[in-house]
Symmetry: C2
């Protein structure tokens, strides 16, 4: 492998433009077919790998050279290295045994759409730069809005409109900035320090970050507490109380983030009542349905977004649980002008007759970045390849598998469901009643400790954490956790596209085996091996 030491060598000015072309179509074809086979084989063999990567920090630095090669390397060599050095460091989100975080559900159609977008490689910042990129996006967003039965006012056909963002974080930032500027235009730009914004203690951390980026005074970032008894849903009464107190303190309530399907427990905020409160104070409401939005294309789930007609904007991630590879966040707004007022740029080098005609959408003015990929292709391919019928079928099959897993838990009285399941994510733990109330001796880092009695709550959490680590360490399945109202829970999120019922049956076996081992270790006075 070469080095950079030739940096000061004389320059060869006779370099011909006939160096092998980096986009030669026939070479593209040859290497492209190889890569398709590589990835198809990866999916075929994916269950052979531990789901959660088992490498140690710094593993890759030891395996790769210190600098870029000076001379070209063949695709064969590179693919060998991918197999030998990259695959071991992958946590296999596409594995059928992946139940962590939320799914990152791929599909053939999503993959092909991404290929097409990469192949055209247009920079669709405005209509002019590639009309199909803009027009397909508008069309697909109306299709999808229709599938979700969003209010007409969120669709282009009703003077609203949809846009594809990369992530929910960006969707939140854009709508927050629009809301911020709408308010500041009324009360004066100098009053940015007075704006207050609202969410619950279950809201995704993306909102806090967006507020920080947008220059909101973090002393005015209001977090409404939720409780297990109300399934972690935001209380409209508590929201109103908080707003009233803020108004009395001279603040200007500006923005509410409501969630349908929170990250920890897939809790659902009551959109209708919350929007009514926000309306009384002229606030912008954004609905973050990042995870659960997709399943609302099924009539039996649509009620979870009832009340969205009172909101100003709504988003969900097609890359989460809608078979559209990362990244693809669908955002609809009732008033596109509020977005574009804050986000429009108009430099000379982008001026063109189509924009001047005002007949076209220029999506650069609906998002943070100027450049944008042709993301609508993958969404279009997903909608067409599967159709509404199959998409509902896929989503329902995930819900059915989650129900099945829930059934296994319910039938085993050592486990408990921590919060009622809304979608395809089950939140559970080893029940306190399954864990001895007698003080139990165990050893951590060589120190003998005792559980039980006053320490019991802590112990239940500790034991559940141990159960999760033990399961994930096996590499057979992968789950993640959360802590709500002081309770450590395990999340079993069904949604990886390759997952079938047999995988869920196996997953339950894995959970049970590790639970058996953990309970037998910590529910007796015998010492297990050091932790």
């Amino acid at each position: 492998m070469g080095s950079l030491n030739d940096f000061d060598l004389p320059i060869n000015d006779n370099i011909s433009s006939n160096v092998n072309n980096p986009m030669d179509p026939e070479e593209f074809r040859r290497q492209g077919h190889m890569m398709i086979d590589f990835i198809a084989d990866y999916y075929k063999n994916i269950e052979k790998y531990p789901v959660l990567s088992q490498v140690e920090p710094g593993y890759l630095k030891k395996r790769l050279p210190k600098s870029a090669p000076y001379y070209p390397e063949s695709i064969e060599t590179i693919l060998n290295d991918v197999q030998d050095h990259i695959v071991p460091g992958i946590t296999h989100w596409q594995s059928p045994n992946y139940y962590a975080y939320f799914p990152s559900s791929g599909s053939i159609a999503g993959f092909l759409g991404e290929m097409l977008a990469t192949g055209f490689n247009v920079v669709g910042f405005n209509w002019m730069s590639s009309p199909a990129a803009t027009e397909l996006e508008s069309i697909v967003m109306d299709w999808l809005g229709d599938m979700l039965r969003l209010p007409k006012s969120f669709l282009f056909s009703g003077n609203g409109g949809g846009v594809l963002q990369g992530t929910t974080c960006e969707a939140i930032l854009c709508t927050l900035v629009a809301a911020r500027d709408r308010t500041l235009n009324k009360i004066g730009k100098d009053n940015i320090g007075k704006l207050s914004v609202y969410c619950s203690d279950q809201t995704h951390c993306a909102f806090k970050k967006a507020a920080q980026i947008a220059g909101i005074n973090m002393n005015n970032f209001r977090v409404i507490p939720t409780t297990l008894s109300s399934s972690f849903s935001m209380s409209p009464e508590l929201l109103r109380k908080t707003i009233v107190a803020d108004l009395e303190a001279g603040l200007v309530p500006t923005f509410l983030l409501a969630t349908v399907g929170t990250t920890s427990t897939t809790a659902v905020d009551p959109l209708g009542p919350l929007c009514n409160v926000a309306k009384d104070y002229g606030m912008w409401v954004h609905v973050d349905a990042a995870y659960a939005g997709s399943v609302c294309i099924c009539p039996e789930f649509r009620h979870f977004i009832d009340g969205v007609e009172g909101a100003n904007s709504f988003s969900f991630n097609a890359h989460k649980w809608f078979f559209t590879t990362l990244d693809c966040c669908c955002l609809w707004v009732r008033d596109p002008a509020a977005l574009t007022k804050s986000l429009t740029t108009d430099p000379e080098y982008l001026k063109n007759k189509a924009t001047e005609s005002k007949q076209v959408v220029d999506y650069k003015d609906w998002q943070i970045a100027l450049s944008r990929r042709f993301r609508s292709l993958k969404l279009w391919l997903v909608l067409r390849s599967y159709g509404v019928e199959k998409l509902r079928g896929f989503l329902r099959s995930h819900v059915k598998m989650a129900k099945m897993f829930e059934g296994f838990l319910v039938a085993d009285d050592r486990f408990e469901i921590v919060v009622p399941r809304n979608f395809a994510t089950v939140c559970f733990r080893l029940s306190p009643s399954a864990i001895s109330t007698k003080p139990v001796l165990y050893e951590i880092n060589g120190t003998r400790r005792s559980s039980g009695g006053a320490e019991k709550a802590l112990t239940v959490n500790e034991i559940n954490a141990k159960l999760m680590d033990s399961i994930n360490g096996s590499g057979r399945i992968y789950m993640t956790h959360s802590v709500v109202d002081g309770i450590f829970l395990l999340r079993f999120a069904v949604g990886a596209s390759l997952t079938e019922e047999s995988h869920v049956v196996t997953a339950w076996k894995v959970v049970k085996e590790h639970a058996d081992a953990i309970l037998s270790r910590y529910n007796t006075c015998e010492f297990g091996p050091g932790q």
Copy 2:
């Protein structure tokens, strides 16, 4: 094509989880090979299409159904529609006859890297979520920083570090927020209205937008004027004067954006002297080398970023002129802690032992979004497939072709080079001396108008705009314009990966033919056809 009218049909609860799997490996293989052939054929035939799409606003709505299909459609049907309905609405950025804006240079390696990233489809927000995604990114950013001879302090190996953002807009926003918070931590959060930021009138519009998003008071957004006589480069003296005046007015100078290769004319700001000024006032300097950064891997171009050692951060777009498909912006910072202080989130559901060990990078804290694609794969494939040698060769071949085009212009005294060429973009126009100084009658929208005399400057711009529209309307090549110091100029940006010398020769013929026609129409008293 089905409709949504069945929304209220009874739900079939017996749906089996054995619906065809959307990721079936063998079906993936079959469809993947088809798509590779489709795209290879697209590249093979790309010169048959008009470079600039010639469709009218709303063309696609007329061709596509009003709603998503209810039943699945075959990939064959979809690909036919891509060919018939999407391709006509594409502006072919990958065409060898594309010279507009800046290149969006694809490559086989970049494409394959994107395929791999899409295939793994991991969400690499932190180390734990897929260690290879984080580690490869850190390694590749050090490789590339080394290739650019960035100061060691920008590399992980020197306690700085690099991160892949989607776009320069995001890189600017992140560094601006870091700089903003660094200053506010000293002077108090309530003083956000006092912060002032600096750029030139040639700086990309992304900076203004970032400042707006970050809550900077736009009354304190300072734009240093530049002139043709100094090739549109920012004056350190003028910068200092502006800063001093702002300090006297009670403002707090916070951030300077310097550019290497501006969008209009590829002007270069003098980094060394500008950083010296900024240093005197404790400001953050970000260097935006979005376009020109890549060519600085060639020793003969490296001097353009001399002085970068005085900056706080540096970015360039590998997706512009570095064969790495959209999106891939490389950002290095000297002080990662300044970034992560502003952008870190730490929710319970993402807590993990690797993060707690502080042995790992969690890139979510270096960017706006939480989710992130495995972008380093494509950059790694580009570096390895071509190596430093070929990459320099590709870039030099583009510069050589731009020089050749410049030579054609210089040899034809009807044209003039508006600003000296720095890289592979030539800024030119029909020279005022080539346009009759006698009043010339011509017709616009049926109204007879006269050029020449006092109106001459306007006429020169108008005639050059007509030249550009005429060329682009032909579909044979595509160029875009800018206006600097009142001068309308055409930009000929070489960099599409398929472009070879023969294309540039053809491009020159096209320009000449259209110039002949335009001049013969407007430089006589004969009326051409209506405009």
